[in-house]
Symmetry: C2
Subunit: 643 residues, 2 copies
């Protein structure tokens, strides 16, 4: 047993089942459409056949295809555990059989560097993503084994992990390297949890600790390749969080997915090692990211040039990078931060990311994807600029797949695994983090209970929790009161309970009986949200939020010219559940004004005094941001001008 038992444990994903409600529907679409779509694209692009021994010299592979395949396998694992699907398993098993045949005798297992460029193996850790791919395959192997009981993939990956452990480290004959794209650190900690093998923890810790030290490994390997280290295209190792050792870092920089994967891995190590220095650094970095560099949607990474962070409070809306994968990575990091520091603030961010930026990454029907999730969109205002317009993309639209297609399979596995984030337990406490219909079995106080949630969350704040237990058990039930909620009401078996939240959770400690029922009622008014005054892009604007959902205005409902729309402070806003839209979603309506010049001539610039502005009142309709771009193409804005 690992040292982490003293920290809250998240519920094993096998112990929760979501059938209905908001996430029930998202998971059903994920099973029926997204996972098959990811399989289909992986198949037709050659990702799966890259492992086929008959195609072992297939020339068209890509250095990080294996990571996509891995995420698809992981998605299948989560999904079949609750919803058996022999066809999904057959598809995975075929690839696993191939992997077994293709894996080298020394344990090395990367489809590209086995088939296409064997001479380049481990020669460019900075750019080539080999360890990153290994990490994703390890996560897939763990989940697939736990879901199906089939160990073949896990055995392959344990051999690969052992090969990596032999190749990298501080001993004679080992390379003192680490991956340019962190991920393996996190995966090895999951492998340690799954197998109890301490060497995987040690290897992960080595990768985190070694990173960024001088003499710099990326310099050395570049010189060994006969390259000038200064010719690194990204100009600086900040890009891969290798500019300095993690313990010296004070600011979140570089590529946003790489950053959050690294910090999640480091948090997992801190959970095991109890390394207070590392915990302090991670706290600081978490605050830096979430208090200076995060979009209201939970998106992170504002700069396209490096797919990552630009500088504090620089959060451009139309050109936001805000990659789906980086919000997913933020959830992984937040989950581990909560364990280190059981406070709802990590879950608040997690909830913000999952209802907004992450879900924006997939179309309502589950088959189309965004890598980038801007908060504003106009014709031609593609984040890729003119260049994209030449290729015909005149609006931000989701696509079936991408050349670098990390986000679609990441979404598939994330949505399939969302139950993981609902509960945590310690020996005497059950944390309820998220609200949605679900049934979960939890070990607590030496016994076992079953919890069932009934709720229409996030469309309303009424949550009914039903307890089933073979015998009465004393424990504390800690219910998260989201930060957006200003008032809540709580009843246990119809008796009103008065309690103030501690660390964001209202705690009811008692001997719980079979049949007990908790009614939590979270006030969910519509809120106008203002942004930090240092975020220059949002000055003079508000965003609309209700519960965890961030809303946006779309041209489909409000016409074009959204920059001219003002929502006066005095205007009444009303919530309306639109049963006809996307299977039923909450919408916000209210009086707005379109403040626009009339009869503008052809010149670009005119004296203000020559221009007549009209103030046309109209009733606006805002829809959840996560469902934007599912109707005809058009403008979209999250931040709307305030009066």
């Amino acid at each position: 047993m690992t040292a982490q038992v003293k920290f809250p444990q998240f519920l094993p994903w096998t112990a929760i089942r979501i059938e209905r409600g908001f996430w029930g529907e998202r998971q059903s679409i994920n099973r029926e459409h997204t996972i098959p779509a990811v399989y289909h694209q992986s198949k037709i692009t050659g990702r799966l056949d890259a492992w086929n021994p008959e195609n072992a010299h297939h020339p068209v592979t890509h250095i990080f295809w294996d990571s996509d395949t891995a995420k698809w396998i992981e998605a299948v694992g989560y999904s079949v555990a609750t919803h058996p699907n022999p066809e999904f398993e057959r598809q995975v098993d075929q690839v696993v059989d191939w992997m077994e045949q293709v894996q080298l005798a020394d344990g090395y297992a990367n489809s590209h560097f086995i088939a296409v460029e064997p001479e380049k193996r481990w020669r460019n850790l900075r750019d080539q993503h080999e360890l990153y791919c290994a990490g994703h395959l390890i996560e897939a192997a763990i989940v697939y084994a736990q879901a199906t009981g089939k160990r073949k993939l896990l055995d392959i990956l344990c051999r690969y992990a052992d090969h990596i452990a032999a190749a990298f480290g501080r001993h004679e004959g080992q390379k003192r390297g680490y991956c340019g794209h962190p991920e393996l650190e996190l995966a090895l900690m999951r492998l340690y949890d799954a197998t109890g093998e301490k060497r995987y923890f040690e290897l992960s810790k080595y990768f985190v600790d070694e990173r960024g030290h001088e003499p710099h490994y990326f310099d050395q390997e570049a010189l060994e390749r006969g390259e000038n280290p200064r010719d690194f295209w990204a100009r600086s190792y900040h890009y891969c969080q290798a500019h300095e050792p993690i313990r010296d870092q004070t600011e979140v920089v570089g590529h946003s997915v790489r950053a959050s994967y690294l910090y999640a891995g480091a948090a997992a190590i801190a959970l095991e090692s109890g390394d207070e220095e590392l915990v302090k650094v991670l706290h600081h970095l978490w605050d830096d990211l979430t208090q200076r560099q995060m979009y209201i949607t939970g998106g992170v990474g504002s700069a396209h040039t490096i797919e990552g962070f630009s500088f504090p409070f620089d959060l451009p809306n139309a050109t936001a990078y805000s990659e789906t994968c980086s919000s997913i990575a933020l959830v992984y990091w937040g989950q581990r931060m909560f364990r280190l520091d059981p406070d709802s603030r990590y879950i608040d961010i997690m909830e913000r990311a999952l209802y907004n930026c992450i879900l924006s990454g997939v179309s309502y029907d589950g088959t189309l994807f965004f890598q980038c999730n801007p908060l504003e969109s106009y014709p031609n205002a593609s984040p890729y600029d003119r260049l994209d317009r030449l290729s015909g993309t005149t609006y931000h639209r989701r696509l079936e797949w991408f050349d670098v297609s990390c986000c679609p399979p990441n979404l598939a596995r994330f949505v399939a695994s969302v139950g993981t984030y609902f509960y945590s337990t310690t020996q005497e406490r059950v944390y309820v983090h998220l609200y949605n219909q679900n049934r979960a079995t939890l070990s607590i106080g030496g016994g076992s209970i079953e919890l069932e949630q009934e709720t229409n969350y996030p469309w309303d704040g009424e949550v009914r929790i039903h307890l089933a237990a073979a015998r009465p058990i004393r424990f504390a039930l800690a219910l998260r009161i989201p930060r957006w909620c200003r008032e809540f009401h709580l009843k246990v078996n119809d008796q009103v309970v008065f309690s103030q939240p501690e660390h964001g959770y209202v705690v009811i400690e008692r001997e719980w009986q079979n049949g007990d029922e908790v009614m939590l009622s979270l006030d969910m008014p519509i809120e106008r949200i203002a942004a930090h005054p240092n975020i220059r892009q949002d000055v003079g604007c508000i965003a609309l939020q209700r519960g965890p959902i961030i809303y946006c205005l779309e041209e489909a409902d409000n016409g074009a010219g959204l920059p001219h729309v003002i929502i006066p402070r005095s205007s009444l806003l009303s919530y309306e559940f639109d049963v006809a839209l996307f299977g039923g979603v909450g919408t916000i309506r209210g009086e707005a004004v379109r403040s626009e010049p009339v009869n503008w001539r052809s010149e670009l610039y005119e004296p203000r005094s020559n221009v007549e502005f009209t103030q046309k009142p109209f009733t606006f309709k805002a829809i959840p941001y996560c469902f934007w771009a599912n109707r005809q193409p058009g403008e979209m804005r999250v931040w709307i001008r305030d009066s």
Copy 2:
């Protein structure tokens, strides 16, 4: 004599002398600081020594260094014509002597491709800028010969032009190519004007006409180099205006400097050939650029990715590319458009560019330069993003020089030649386009007159024009009434003249006598300017303009947090000449409000209702945009929130 005599001629730059006033000071700083700084940088970077036969195998040259050297020589030419400077001439003559020695026997004259990569000569017209460099050298040679009477450089360049004429064209054995970076077209037309040799016109016309035809020359030469044409880094020939023949073009696209140089060259051809189809295309493209894609400063090109145009009405302020060179190129184009279509609208744009974007390209002291001229600046908001921050640039600052340093020498030659744009003549008319103290000698009505302007323009609108003539001459004096001027008063010899402008010029036709004096008084109120409603980046904002000058707010005068500043519609604005600032400049003061939340907590997003906004009134001070970034680093904004 060329066919162009039927169109208005711009005054030869040798015929005007500016001693005082706004441009007198800019030219004096240009002579005393900018031209020497450009020489110094050209020297220390090796640009000049690239021609030294002793260094003929100097390994460090760059494919378009010659263009920088050429622009410096051209600047020296303009400057020594009115302000003799033997040292300047000695510096140029040294390089010219080297060029004469290094030029190949067949006439080829490019320092890089002679010394470093002779095997690559004319092998990659798309990228290698050889014809572009030739064009700039030709312009330099013409000006230097006219200024000094020294023909050596012109002879070198005529030989080179003849070599180019032999190498390129539609005859057997010739390459049907043209340059990826237009410029030579314009230069050859100047060479035709200077020499009367029709073959230079024919060659220029060939380059303009051939461009963009299929089978595409850039495809063919790429295949000949063994490259896939689709691997072109810029993805599309739109980047170099070679996506289709110019006559088929309906929209200004691609790299903004390349675009305007090409259109200027094409306009010069149309002046000679009378090609009505080409004139129609150029009119359309001019309107497209100036009515859909131009900043209020006369800057053009909003996208860094391609140093050029993104899409209509996309004019981001903080990330504007707005290259100094492209506004200069716009002036060249506008100058030729005026000749084709004598209307002040071209000169209005020219004036907008030269008082705002172009002058922003150089520091007040003449030694530091911007390539990009954003309309908004914040700490860290470098157009180059995070990457630049890592290299320490946290504010937009002018630099001494650049790796690609096209703008500094372009500024040097442009400022030295600004007198060129003051007057045009036909056989019976004198156009006065620009206002500044100057003395000019013009041929008109078979005689000659001398005009002298006295004015404090652009700080006030009073212009006194003094005529000296050996004998009375009948002609029309056409004085430009700038589009920003709503009311003007005109007197001839103290007699009020009532007249309405035609095509933007008020025309006084009479027999002019020695000693006649014209007093033009242009009303110059402070204007709040609104932007076209389709420019989403400027919605809800105004810019301040007085006369041709666009103003900006800087942190140095107004404190930080400029996005929170509102200039209410009701606030009175006053003009104040600040004698202490930059040798005396106009400023605008008025009441503004800083609308800002107080006591913001650490979170990024807060309910609007929790936030208290203060409305702090203060007196703002706006300075001319062209002088921004000359004091301590800080925020800057041109577009300010309107109430």
